[in-house]
Symmetry: C2
């Protein structure tokens, strides 16, 4: 059965405050990087899946929406490539 | 002065154990996703920078290596696009 590699990007929705990002931004401005703004911190997840393409795609959608992200607060997108 | 958007991907080096990824993998296998392996969890960071391209590029390299990632344990790559 074919192997696939998935790359998943999870970001906070634009309307959700990102205190971790704000903290990084403040730290950077103290380090004289005061031209930096809009720091947003998300997750980048890699995983491998084995199976037929259509099944793996449906499975990945399920995993991303139900395990890897919280659709109330986060947006998620992914790329699936044959390994 | 031009504005740039940077996307930064920080991943654990392949030789470093990823307990968070292992935990997700075990949770998935209990949810009957037992064809999933190699879960690795990294960070995805977006930020905006203002300035000339060459300066912003040098600055971003410094920020990524010294603030956003730990080069001992993590690999980092980034994309810089004009906003």
């Amino acid at each position: 059965m074919p192997h696939y590699t998935a790359k998943v990007y999870v970001t906070l929705k634009p309307s959700i405050l990102d205190p971790q990002g704000r903290t990084v931004e403040r730290a950077l401005s103290h380090l004289e990087h005061d031209n930096v703004s809009g720091v947003r911190i998300g997750k980048y997840i890699e995983l491998s899946l084995q199976g037929e393409h259509a099944e793996v795609e449906a499975q990945l959608k399920d995993i991303v929406g139900n395990v890897l992200s919280n659709p109330i607060m986060e947006d998620a997108r992914w790329e699936l490539t044959e390994a």
